[in-house]
Symmetry: C7
Subunit: 95 residues, 7 copies
């Protein structure tokens, strides 16, 4: 089952953030704070500009993006929780 986001929407799968300590021990992200990085799973056809033209989005499927802790809405697809947000809510691309 797939989702095709409309217009400037982007579907993102949250990633657990990991923290590497100085001694190299990897700590998983705090359980109390939601991870704010994720992998782009699907992108809409583009942003509708005020002149009516559509501009392709700046993020692509497979990229890792950073966003706000409360960005987007949770949707369930095949039992999996995904986030859907507007490209506007994405801060940047990692890597």
């Amino acid at each position: 089952m797939n989702i095709r986001p409309l217009h400037d929407r982007v579907v993102v799968r949250r990633k657990e953030e990991e923290t590497t300590t100085a001694s190299g021990i990897v700590l998983p992200g705090s359980a109390t704070e939601k991870p704010t990085q994720g992998e782009v799973v699907a992108v809409g056809t583009g942003r509708i500009q005020s002149n009516g033209e559509v501009a392709a989005l700046a993020v692509s499927v497979g990229e890792t993006v950073v966003f706000g802790q409360y960005s987007g809405q949770t949707i369930k697809l095949d039992g999996e929780e995904l986030l859907i947000m507007k490209e506007e809510e994405i801060y940047g691309i990692i890597g």
Copy 2:
């Protein structure tokens, strides 16, 4: 009795979401949380752009769409409860 939504409005019939457990048992959606998927029943003539032109909507009758839990207004038609919302409130198309 039919409804022709105006402009960028879309009429949607809510679908009960079902959850399939790992062992294949199908659980109907929680009764306390309203399903946020639905079938498009009717679409308006299009979005009026700021230059006055009308752009056809990106969803079509028969498609399954995802939307927010509180999106749209409930209308009753022939005793059936339907949702009417702006295309802007629809996150994406399933399938």
Copy 3:
């Protein structure tokens, strides 16, 4: 006594919604919930677009329209209560 609504305004006469039970008994709309269907009684000259041009409204006198429970303002004309609302507040046309 007539009213000519300005620009994108529409005058609507509320209709009592009726509900037909399975056995064919017609129940008038609940007295506690205001009917949200009505007949268009008068329409304005059109929506003023941002380029200054006027676009004719999408509803016509005599059509039955659906709108929100709290849409529009009540005006009294010849002792009759009518609703005046912007076309933007109308969800769709019935029939």
Copy 4:
């Protein structure tokens, strides 16, 4: 003493609404509810559009207009209370 409203503003003199009962008895408007009809006393030079052009207003001096109970601001001119409002706050023209 005269007032020339600026741009899209309109000066209105409230009219007491009268209600005619079925038997022809004329009841003056309720004293507790402010009348929402009035006579246009002066109109501004027009609405400034986003392209900088000025569009003449749709109401003229002498016409009876309908507006919201709380529309406009009260100004006093020669001891008389008048209302000044934007054309946008006027619902329609009576008659």
Copy 5:
């Protein structure tokens, strides 16, 4: 000491409103309600329109204008209290 208001701002000197009773006795404005008429003391260079052009203001120095009771900000110039407001806050010109 002079003030040159920026763009669409206007400097106004409040006028005490006087009320003439039927018998010709002149009552000064109520001390508890701030007068809402004033004389234009200085006007800005004009309103910046969305296309970047500047449109001259519709009020001129020396004219008497009407405005809302709480319009504008008070500034002190040479010990005198003046009001500075946007032309948008002025309802009309008297006289």
Copy 6:
């Protein structure tokens, strides 16, 4: 150490307002009310207009400007408190 304000921002150094009494005694501004005049210390490159062009600001370095009591943000530069505000928050130029 210098600051180059971005776009339509302006850096202002507050001036104590002085009040001259009728007898010529100069009273410094009330200590409880922040002075709302200041000297322009730096100006941005200009206002970005909706067509993408940049319009030079209407205030220049060295001019005395009037602004609202709570306008702008305080920044510290070389230990000195300065205000940075948008040109939009400046009412006018004195002198």
Copy 7:
């Protein structure tokens, strides 16, 4: 690990502000007030203008910028706290 901010976003590394007393003693910024200067670490591809064109940002990597105490969102990259904000939230460039 790098971040490429989207569109008009800018990544900033906070700098501790230092205060030099008259006698030349350098005091680090107050611990209770967050520093509001920082070094630009990464800039987006530019501001999308209403005509759809993209305008390069006015700040560059390596520059020191001033911003509001509560501007931007905190993101963690390789264990380091950085700020990501819109260029619009940056007041000016220092130096």
